[in-house]
Amino acid sequence: MSHPPDESFRSSGADPDEELLQEARKAPQGDLRAFEQLVLRYQRRVVANCRYITRDRNNAEDLAQEVLVKAFFGLRGFEGRSSFVDWLQRIKISHCLRHVKKQVGRSYVGIEEADVDEFDQLKVRVTAEQMAEQISDQQLIGRVLDSIPGTLRIPLLLCDMDELSYEEVAQFLGLSLSATKMRIKRGREEFRERYQKVRTAVAK
């Protein structure tokens, strides 16, 4: 079973970035206007990916910067076999996974690995902050994601945020298809359960 396609541009066939991409590739050296437009279009998404895949708040923008610079210098080699956003996504995922491996100091991960579960801290933090400020939905999602162990969070993000197929996720993570599906399933369950609890806590 492959991941169901969404209604966004990924499934629409034509690449909405084609025009800007052509301009960026044809631009004389030093003219970065077209590429700048592409960066402005995707930077928030790239930063979000870097932030939640690596769970590294301090370096998310630095990672995003490296990804975007890498994409610029790879533009000439981009053959257009996939859309620009898919291509950018691959650069981003590889870069983030390399960063995660460096962080962990070993290659990635068994499903039984016990990550630090921040969920209890999360509940306390939400209740405390609830009194002080209104937490946006985006922040809640971010905090729930931060509380999920990397073994489940990363496959979940690659599948539901980057909208890769199960096969692609398995390939990126070097896992079997069944292990990948199992992690995604557990990741979704964890996310829903924790998100629901946090929402309830905030609503009280």
């Binding site: 928030r44 979000a48 939640y52 995003a64 069944s178 199992m182 995604i184 979704r188």
Partner: protein, 92 residues
Amino acid sequence: MSDEPEDSEMREDEEIDPGEPIAALAKLEHDTSSLLIGRVLRTIQRRTAIGQLTSFSAEAPVVVLKEFWLISIGQLNPISMGKDASHGAKTS
């Protein structure tokens, strides 16, 4: 017979249903600082400049040697060069 393990693995893959995707994640974005775009562009410009400088450093000795070689040939063969020049002048 030999296909049995593969078949069972495939069946196992099909049996796991990971459920519905989490829609909120598909739209998830993160606020960026206004400085990010500037940092990206500056890094690109800096690396481009370094690349140009490096390629110039690599090419410059070759160009200088080539010019030196052509001048040396010109110095060693002034007569033929002169002949060529006068022949060129006549034909024109």
